[in-house]
Symmetry: C2
Subunit: 205 residues, 2 copies
């Protein structure tokens, strides 16, 4: 059926452009007209597909953002290698603004989390959920690291995961300019330093 395809395609275009602009300017600072104008669509078209701006954004979160976080931060953890370089690499990669003018997905989470934290509990919940899944996976991979002898026995994996996530999210507030290589480099260096301190092999300082 062509009509169903048309529906999908328009919704897809709306979500893609929406994420792009929300990410750029923030959710509450972006009007639907801002997005609609970019796509040459009307209010009518929008409300034909989504029941509200909120519903629209939830759609974006549950599809695009979840998907991207999985791809960038969670799936890479699924190996049997030493988890430490794997985690470092995934974070490094997530902070990288996409190769061909893609978005810097590494930034989205902290921005949206903060924006919705005090304003919309439902959306806030979805976002926290993403973090929570990420955390669970980090904990799992760290624990496996213990078993495999890569991570020191006495380390609190839950605490370590929290700490890793916090430092990652916090980098966003410092990196106004997403292309700041200096800050990114510093972050990765210190992260490695931290990892050395929780690794099983003694430091050769």
């Amino acid at each position: 059926m062509q009509t169903t395809l048309k529906r999908r395609e328009t919704m897809h275009r709306l979500c893609g452009k929406g994420l792009e602009i929300f990410n750029e300017k923030g959710y509450y600072n972006t009007s639907l007209d801002d997005i609609l104008q970019e796509l040459s669509l009307s209010k009518g078209a929008f409300y034909h597909h989504f029941k509200s701006k909120e519903d629209y954004f939830i759609n974006i979160v549950q599809n695009l953002i979840v998907q991207k976080v999985y791809a960038l931060l969670i799936e890479p953890l699924d190996t049997n290698e030493n988890p430490i370089p794997v985690i470092v690499e995934s974070l490094e990669n997530a902070l990288e603004p996409g190769k061909k003018n893609e978005m810097a997905y590494g930034f989205m989470l902290n921005d949206f989390l903060t924006e919705f934290n005090k304003r919309n509990e439902e959306i806030s919940g979805y976002l926290k959920n993403i973090i929570s899944v990420w955390e669970v996976n980090l904990v799992a991979v760290l624990k496996r690291g213990k078993v495999d002898g890569h991570i020191a026995r006495h380390i609190d994996c839950e605490g370590a995961a929290t700490y890793i996530i916090a430092s990652y999210l916090g980098m966003r507030s410092l990196m106004t300019d997403s292309t700041n290589r200096q800050l990114k480099y510093q972050y990765i260096q210190q992260l490695k330093q931290y990892f050395k301190s929780i690794s099983a092999t003694q430091i050769t300082a």
Copy 2:
């Protein structure tokens, strides 16, 4: 003159309550009427003292927030002791919601930084400036730590300061509920772990 005193007092009340509510609900999600109603003041009174909402908030930043950040995060660094426990203690303290229903100042910075990042360059600038002063002081105290033999020689102090700040700011996104002792505990523990890795005395793992 009594009138001048009256002026000061009203402005002071406005700024205090403003910070409280902005911190609770966010700047853009708080209307002037929200604040004015709490203080039983009118629009007229407000605009008699401040030329705009923006001007008002800049006032709050430059007075109240700057002052609090200095008191909580910067001044404590000014000792000759081993910087590591000093820094840890200051962060621990800053994450603590004030004893008698004061605000959790540790949270404000990340929230406001993110909120203004894409919306108001001027306010953004003032906030980043605060972070920058903090960073400078952290770097200084870390460097002194090297000289005094508390911190390992090979450590990049600028990078370490950045990393400390990032993890601190990022905790805010995780601690929705400012009284979450579990998360705070985890954070402090891992922070100490990190500090062990940059300290001059070898780890006794």
